[in-house]
């Protein structure tokens, strides 16, 4: 079978074989030896991140990304499953107050925190999701418990909080999650909306703006994807959502196929403007384009990202073959990745 464009015969690749009646099968064509290498990628939010971002706003996040990357890579080297790895990495990102997830989540228009998360196991396509959490320290772990311990996939608000207590996960008073930075962000956003009303005909359907947000994007969702030593894939995503969002607003993060997706071929985690990511089913589409068009990972991701309005999306993805891609159509995306062959990267803007 011809393998066009494959320069290095020791690099494993994926064949998509056309079956009958429009069906397809995946065949993993290994390089010199199997199993294939592990790979991991994580993000801390895509958005209009200015290059002038001061060091004190940049360094803590980069340091956390590096630390999480090392943690994830070490776990993969030790043979942990992709599912365990993405959960543990996202837990760390949630605990870091500089990202918009767990502690450090942005605030609703009521000044409260409503967190959401989802996880998907590519080996069997089980998934779990939660929304509307206000006291659960690690939403991603609750999402995993929904997947592992209930007959359901998605629990939200009071029902999710009750389940958290049932399961005995760590909970804290809502004030634990709220940071000064986010109180400030909310104030700016409300000010911006008030200004909008003063100067223009108020249009409720305009996106919520935070114009003086010289900090990073208003949507610093976190996520992690990994492929482990056995070729298993998983994806996990977690967020506080949109600054000044209406109470009860659900974004793309807990929506399987939008914010998170994984199957035997590829795992994807997205970040950006939830409303756009939902309608473009971004995470699912990256994989669908690989499956149905036979495009390699990087091209598939680039194509899907290009199809979403500029400035609205970023994603990280890994394939069963151990490839990694980190694509975004925003100014920047806090991101990091590593592969078994020793390549690693932590960055914000394009190279």
């Amino acid at each position: 079978e011809e393998e066009p464009g494959r320069a290095d015969p020791t690099v494993p690749t994926i064949e998509l074989l056309q079956g009958g009646a429009g069906g397809w099968t995946i065949e993993l064509v290994a390089g010199a030896d199997r199993p294939m290498g592990w790979a991991i990628a994580l993000h801390g939010g895509a958005g209009d991140i200015p290059r002038t971002l001061p060091p004190e706003r940049r360094e803590p996040r980069l340091a956390t990304l590096r630390r999480c990357l090392d943690l994830g890579a070490a776990a993969l080297r030790a043979g942990r499953s992709a599912l365990d790895v993405v959960e543990l990495v996202v837990r760390e990102l949630e605990d870091c107050p500089h990202f918009n997830a767990g502690k450090g989540s942005v605030l609703t228009s009521d000044g409260t925190v409503e967190m959401e998360a989802s996880v998907m196991d590519g080996t069997d396509m089980r998934c779990g999701a939660v929304s509307g959490l206000s006291t659960v320290v690690n939403p991603i772990s609750l999402a995993r418990l929904v997947m592992d311990k209930t007959p359901h996939i998605y629990l939200a608000f009071d029902g999710a909080e009750a389940f958290a207590r049932d399961q005995g996960v760590e909970i804290r008073d809502q004030s634990h999650f709220i940071t000064e930075e986010n109180i400030e962000r909310l104030r700016n956003a409300k000010e911006a909306n008030r200004v909008q009303i003063d100067y223009t005909q108020y249009n409720y359907t305009q996106p919520i703006q935070a114009p003086n947000d010289d900090d990073n994007s208003r949507t610093g969702t976190v996520g992690c994807v990994a492929v482990d030593a056995s070729g298993g894939l998983a994806s996990a995503t977690s967020t506080g959502g949109l600054v000044n969002k209406m109470a009860g607003r659900v974004g793309d993060t807990p929506v399987i196929g939008a914010g998170t997706y994984a199957n035997a071929l590829c795992a994807v985690s997205t970040t950006g403007k939830g409303e756009d990511i939902i309608r473009h089913t971004v995470a699912r589409d990256v994989v669908a384009v690989m499956e149905h068009r036979g495009l390699p990972l990087e091209e598939a991701a680039a194509r899907v990202v290009a199809g979403v309005p500029r400035g609205s999306v970023g994603l990280v993805a890994v394939s069963a073959a151990g490839e990694v891609t980190m694509a975004y159509n925003t100014t920047g995306m806090f991101r990091a990745c590593a592969t078994e062959d020793g390549h690693s990267e932590v960055a914000i803007w394009p190279a």
Binding site: Y154, A156, R249, I256, D285, E291
Partner: protein, 333 residues
């Protein structure tokens, strides 16, 4: 010149022993709601207006599991969810945890049209409904006696399923319960953890292409009988239960988990878009290849005026009509 077409459903996973009079009643409701859509389309209404109007009819009628007649949570309450998608521009709106809004699909539409967001849930959704002046009623309005009985059976079945040898406490020979035990023991047809005789086919939906070639889809449900409070299924999830774009509009029903992990509605469109399959082939492919062990069904229309449906379980309440005069309702294969 585009041709209009409409497909509706009242849920997949029908009890093969459903009494004749119940089947007739279901077909009457389907026919009536289908006619509402057909009349609107003949009068030139947009796909979006049609799917909303038709799903409102399906919600209001207590026959199916949405709006009035919704399945009950394990607490005995109703928590409804819905989503709507405009194929023109792929705008969308969704709601979950709705407990007092008479027509959840209309609230989903308001989220799409009148809010900066795509999906609102629970208190936030209820609050928005009041802000928007939508009709609200007491939660008891949605609860039917039949579903109260079904909930009781479902609770028993959920424990029966794990040990059918446990004698049934206070077992009057309620035929449904007897059938449930038999269902577990012999023919064993189970959906979402419930024997088919107790399982309430989840969800109603509508997919339309109008005479301008624009598509829309909407889905609405009370969800899984005896579900945990706060459980969200596939119906409000764009890409899972509902999807619409230039190629097609789709609404799904069945086991929520299976529909979510297979992103069923989006996959029908993706297969058309990326593999160039025509509508019926795309539907067949997705039902056959994407559901694995899961049971589900779907209805779909294409941008070019075709109509299709598919399901891999015992029956789906459905109706279809197209501009060339074709019109039918059905339940079985």
């Amino acid at each position: 010149m585009a041709r209009w077409a409409i497909a509706i459903h009242g849920g997949a996973g029908v009890d093969p022993n459903l009494p004749e009079h119940r089947q007739e009643e279901a077909k009457r409701v389907l026919a009536r709601c289908l006619q509402v859509g057909v009349d609107l389309l003949r009068a030139g209404a947009t796909a979006l207006d049609v799917v909303e109007a038709v799903v409102r009819e399906l919600e209001t009628d207590p026959c199916f599991n949405s709006g009035r007649g919704s399945a009950l949570t394990r607490a005995g309450t109703v928590e409804m969810e819905a989503s709507i998608m405009d194929g023109r521009g792929r705008r969308c709106g969704a709601v979950s945890g709705v407990s007092t809004v008479k027509n959840p699909v209309s609230l989903a539409r308001r989220v799409m049209d009148k809010s900066p967001h795509s999906y609102l849930a629970f208190d936030g959704a209820e609050h928005f409904a009041r802000e928007q002046g939508l009709e609200v009623v007491d939660n008891s309005y949605f609860i039917t006696e039949e579903n109260v009985s079904m909930l009781k059976l479902a609770k028993e079945a959920n424990s029966i399923l794990f040990d059918y040898r446990i004698p049934l406490a206070g077992a009057d020979t309620c035929s449904a319960l007897a059938a449930a035990v038999e269902g577990h023991g012999s023919n064993g047809m189970v959906m979402n953890g419930l024997p088919i005789s107790i399982y309430a086919p989840e969800t109603v939906g509508c997919a339309v292409v109008d005479s301008n070639g624009f598509t829309a889809a909407a889905t609405s449900t009370g969800g899984l009988m005896n579900k945990m409070t706060g459980r969200i299924g596939d119906s409000p999830l764009i890409g899972a239960g509902t999807y619409a774009c230039g190629h097609c509009a789709v609404s799904c029903t069945g086991e929520g988990e299976a529909i979510i992990r297979s992103t069923l509605a989006r996959d029908v469109a993706a297969v058309m878009e990326y593999k160039g399959l025509p509508l019926q082939e795309a539907v067949d492919f997705c039902v056959k290849e994407r559901l694995d062990e899961g049971f589900a069904g779907l209805i779909a229309v294409s941008g070019t005026g075709e109509v299709a449906y598919g399901f891999n379980c015992t029956g789906m309440f459905r109706g279809c009509a197209s501009e060339d005069g074709f019109m039918e309702v059905g339940i079985w294969e």
